[in-house]
Symmetry: C2
Subunit: 326 residues, 2 copies
DNA sequence: TTGAAAGCGGTACCAT
DNA sequence: ATGGTACCGCTTTCAA
């Protein structure tokens, strides 16, 4: 202990606590001694009395552009808010997420933010019981006691359908992945609902994981048969980009003349010259900010308000959809 | 404290310490009580006696594909090794990195891994003095006492030049960004060295940050004048992809007939059908594994060996370079 | 095998 | 404003 500054430990503590009363003189002595000894307050020892200030991020597939972007916003903002961000990189299955969530308990995290995968309800309950705040991002299945922040999939699905119809597409398809995450399922369901309301029939295609490769493979298979679609809503930009590449390079299809494509996420790559994908942007940074707000303002809003914040996706008009029928 | 299990705290501790001697009976009692009370060992309180098990990752530009990939490997492997991974998302300037590094001291991190930016030498020294291990990734400037892991930029630069020459390129260029990170500078320098050895003159272009957009803008400017290059080594895939898009779409250049391009990193996107970029892969996962090894085996290797591990980049042959002169 | 007690690095309360 | 002290949750000697 740095009390070779010739003062008590209390004085040291007060020096590093803002709003405590220390004379300028002792303060200086302490600061000097600290400098000499290379002393730094141990933030984790503080945690023995108060909150730990730790926020755990449970995430999988960090390399996926959307995920990386979300992780970026979140870590930035958490850090700005003075939180300690621990990231738990898991698989997205329930067991892995469960293990990760259990770890957060050992770290005495004040809060856990789940970016991917869904923990079992019982595990969440124990986290909650341990005084932890649990925030789920883009999980449409609400769990009791969790706070949710996500994007409005219904709007995007409806608008996507509108765009394809306005373009005069006659055989509309929906491409999704075999990985059924809540938000993907929601986009699918809302797209079908909207189509049904208009008496349209949609062809559904599910292919592998949510990757570029899956989109590519899907197109390879779809255009190898008769009755291929001329307008497709891909539930993810990554799928859309792969789909577009295969349609163009393997089948010589022109976008948007022969085929219209709508994506979702607005990842960087969607704006690249080779793609110019029309898509919907998730306001990730605003969502991240909201998460931090949720952590900071303890119970400012009524609990019903907190339970679910849904952000409106913003359409990004580029060139993969015609503005009129061909 | 869970001694309503009817045992001492010592017993509880021993139950959760492997290799401690507890009778099966007490063990059971403790476990039951823990279950009932929802008790979880506080890993951060442990740290008051021993090592904290915390590893800090200092990183900027998380959305950049290489960075995200590295972060992914690292977090995965650290977690597998039982480490607690705290990520500090900073800007890459020295001041930000410095602030981040200072934070790691407050968290009593056992080690800090710097993925981007370079901390000042003095700050590193205080971290070292506090018993922290500091590992720098892809910083060619060696700092005293740090361990380094990186990729061999010299080989890649030489090989890139070879590829372009074999393709018969006559006006060879080098595209880099204005952000002079050590590894970018190294690639540039080695490329020039190699060219000089062969008596070749290279045209150098620096453009903005290390992004797709910069590559795009660079091409726009370069092909707007006479004497444009017919073979370019882009120090980063992202630059190469932007460059390729502008060359193709704005100038109708055919790749590789009219223009040969070599990148570096082998990000996912480089393999996409629209690009098929010939590039060099950084063995990120092996590098990540090495980092974890460095953390685990305390002083297994001689300190000179540890000081710098350089991995050989592996060439990824695709279609952006001709195999013979046109 | 078990329990008592000391100490890890802090902060907060209570006197002074 | 300052110092003394108890306590946060856990591990580790040391005796029993």
């Amino acid at each position: 202990m740095a009390e070779r500054a010739g003062v008590s430990r209390s004085a040291v503590s007060r020096t590093f606590t803002d709003g405590a009363s220390v004379s300028e003189e002792t303060r200086k002595k302490v600061l000097e001694a600290a400098e000499a000894l290379g002393y730094h307050v141990n933030h984790l020892a503080r945690q023995l009395r108060e909150r730990s200030n730790i926020v755990c991020l449970i995430v999988s597939d960090v390399t996926t552009p959307v995920r990386a972007a979300l992780l970026d916003s979140l870590t930035r903002r958490l850090q700005a808010a003075g939180k300690i961000t621990v990231v738990l990189n898991t698989e997205s299955d329930e067991a892995s997420v469960g293990r990760a969530l259990k770890l957060t308990l050992h770290y005495r995290a004040d809060a856990t933010v789940v970016l991917s995968g869904t923990p079992s309800s019982s595990l969440v309950q124990t986290a909650l019981a341990n005084g932890q705040q649990v925030i789920l991002i883009n999980r449409d299945d609400r769990l009791d006691g969790c706070e949710n922040v996500g994007v409005d999939n219904a709007i995007a699905a409806r608008e996507a359908l509108f765009l394809l119809r306005r373009a005069g597409c006659e055989r509309i398809g929906l491409l999704t992945s075999a990985a059924s995450t809540p938000s993907l399922i929601a986009r699918e369901r809302h797209f079908f609902d909207a189509a049904e309301r208009e008496g349209l029939s949609i062809s559904l295609w599910k292919e592998g994981p949510t990757t570029y490769r899956s989109g590519y493979d899907a197109a390879l298979k779809m255009f190898a048969r008769s009755q291929a679609p001329d307008g497709v809503f891909c539930v993810t930009d990554l799928l859309a980009l792969g789909f577009m590449d295969a349609a163009r390079h393997a089948f010589g299809l022109r976008i948007p003349q022969d085929l219209c494509l709508v994506g979702f996420d607005n990842i960087e790559e969607a704006g690249w010259q080779s793609y110019q994908l029309t898509t919907f942007e998730q306001p990730l940074d605003r969502m991240a900010r909201h998460v931090v707000d949720l952590l900071s303002l303890p119970e400012a809003l009524g609990s019903s308000d907190r339970a679910a914040a849904v952000f409106e996706p913003v359409p990004i008009w580029r060139q993969s959809v015609r503005s009129h029928p061909a």
